[in-house]
Amino acid sequence: MMRRTWWLLAIAMLALVLVATGCGGGQADKGKPAQEQSATPSGETIKIGFLGAKTGNHASYGIETLKGMKMAADDINAAGGLLGKKVEIIEDDHRSNPSEAATVTQKLINNNKVVAIVGDPTTGITKVAGNIAQQSKVVLLSAGAVGPGVVEIGDYIFRDTLLDALAAPAVTKYCVETLGWKKVALVTSVNNDYSVGLTKIFKDALAKYGAQIVIEQSIKDGDQNFSAQVTNIKQKAVDGIVFTGYYTEGGLFMKEVRKQGLKQVMVGGDGLLSPKLWELGGNAVEGSMVYTGFYPDLNNAGEKTKAFVQAYQKANNNALPDMFSAQGYDAVMLIADAIKKANSADPSVFKNELAKTQNWQGVTGTISFGPNREPVKSPVFLLEVKEQKWAVKAVIPVTAQ
């Protein structure tokens, strides 16, 4: 009897502690937006939510996106605001966790009453949040998702990134027509979704522009030994190597290519876009090419881009903005423009204006939304490794097919 009472007491205490900490945590979370709300009573600002990670695996994407968004809000507010109101960015942190992202999305919509959400930079979380935004009839514009199945969720869902489906064909055209590649080797990392998908796009594009894939080789993410694949490639005289995987394997693969005495360079998607490429590949990746939707190159930049890059550098110790900060900036600007044109901050109204966006000039280039709200972005920056740095090799204009 005695023992039983003790147990009950212990369980009751434990439950109490859990409830107490649970509540405490909840209040702490709610506390911050509530304060912000009281400082600027609702109705006086147009709220745009940031959905992204400030901690966790994808933190760097989220942090950069948010920096861009805040710069955009500051620029809009400095120029007199939107429909006579100020734009306010509501930020939260889903810690790179999909289930947390669902909660954050709900909170942004229900508690903060945002009219639009910018984010998430990753495809997976965008899909989670997209379904919630679509049901709640709030515009969601992802500044980073490139995978399939995003805009298919519904008419409130947009994205403003350069899609591989447009970039890879443009780059293929350049390689075939300008660099004269006729025969290529195609290397795929078979346990990497991104690589498998990109290979498919490159295959179609190579066929379209009349280049021949004379040899196809598969590797795996995490592989280190590529001697057999490179020996296979060596048997065929190829003009270049199309490599669809990530930078780690890309760097090591090219190292083996040079070791076996081959002179070709490789071309690939932004999966190769990291300084690790030459840290691992050394001289072997000199001349290798990578495409990207944004590059802070002041020599080739338009006025808007120049101003953005300079403002970013000023605010960030001279560091250069990346794709994510630029796309975050453009995302807020796109939404603001749609609101201005629609003369309404009601998502069900301005989403139609947003969908009509054509030849809109942003810091990442020109953006148009196709009939399915998929972005067509121009130009594509083709970068090459030059003395262990990125250098712009070509700026390729893109038109919708």
Partner: protein
């Protein structure tokens, strides 16, 4: 083409063999599959990188330092994690070995981060023509160093006193102890030898593939374990043969266009060999004691 791929396979196989030797020697004496062996190999590779970048030594000195560090590490691991469990159920030291392996992976991830580190370019790339094939300088170094170490091991086991003690202990652990062999010393020596070879393998692999990362021991360790079983676990020539056999099979598999299945090659071979020769290629037939 075929000969060229054979050279690629032989180089890869030599590194597998170096690691496989450690598995086989330890198993031969205390019937323990030392699952932390792959991590010793990984630590060896990292020590190699550090020695080259910080101490600015050449590849052979780096390899020597890696061997020293890993010998100490192997012997210490045996002291702390395996020796206290030697008289317990066979599962206990096995789990303990997995623990050591995870500990070392995590430790190195914390220190160096999960991203691969470049192995510094210490050997000038050069290609030599040998009839129909081209061999790179790195490949020659790997083949020469691996053969040198394997011959050395063979001489120690065959002719040196402690090697003879190793063979005695592997024949019958308890009887060897009764005959006055200090079995603890023999076991420590076995771990030292195995770790030394794994460290050399780590530095060679780092140099060959140009990168090292904290989880590199997992895949390599698994393959080498396969090689050891393939050759007949407990048999030293078996481990060498198994490693080389496996390396060549893997590379020829990729050459034939089955790159997608390259990691399955090792395990398919393992299953096939075990089906038809349960004790491995060079394993001794199981003797029933009447």
């Amino acid at each position: 083409m075929f000969w060229q791929q054979l050279i690629n396979g032989l180089t890869l196989g030599a590194t597998y063999a170096l690691i496989a030797l450690g598995y086989t020697m330890v198993y031969g004496i205390i019937q323990l599959i030392n699952f932390a062996h792959g991590e010793i190999f990984m630590v060896g590779a990292f020590v190699g990188v550090l020695a080259i970048t910080i101490l600015k030594v050449n590849i052979f000195v780096a390899m020597f330092l890696a061997m020293l560090v890993c010998m100490a590490l192997g012997v210490t691991a045996e002291r702390i994690a395996y020796r206290p469990l030697r008289r317990s159920d066979r599962l206990a030291p096995l789990i303990s070995a997995i623990g050591v392996s995870i500990f070392l992976q995590t430790l190195m991830t914390v220190i160096f981060g999960p991203q691969p580190q470049a192995f510094p370019q210490v050997v000038e790339d050069a290609l030599y023509k040998l009839g129909p094939v081209q061999v790179s300088r790195v490949q020659i170094i790997i083949l020469v160093v691996a053969s040198f170490l394997m011959v050395g091991l063979h001489l120690i086991v065959k002719y040196v006193k402690i090697g003879k003690a190793m063979r005695a202990a592997s024949e019958d652990y308890d009887t060897a102890a009764l005959m006055g062999i200090n079995v603890n010393r023999v076991i420590s020596f076995t771990f030292a030898l195995g770790s030394l070879l794994a460290a050399a393998g780590g530095v060679l692999v780092g140099m060959y593939f140009n990168s090292v990362f904290p989880l590199m021991g997992v895949q390599a360790g698994l393959k080498a374990f396969c090689a050891a079983v393939l050759g007949g676990i407990g048999s030293i020539p078996g481990a060498m043969l198994g490693g080389i056999f496996l390396g060549i099979a893997e590379v020829l598999g990729i050459a034939a266009g089955y790159g997608d299945y390259k990691d399955a090659v090792a395990f398919t071979l393992l299953i096939l060999v075990l089906l038809f020769r349960p004790t491995g290629l060079l394993g001794r037939p199981v003797q029933r004691k009447v």
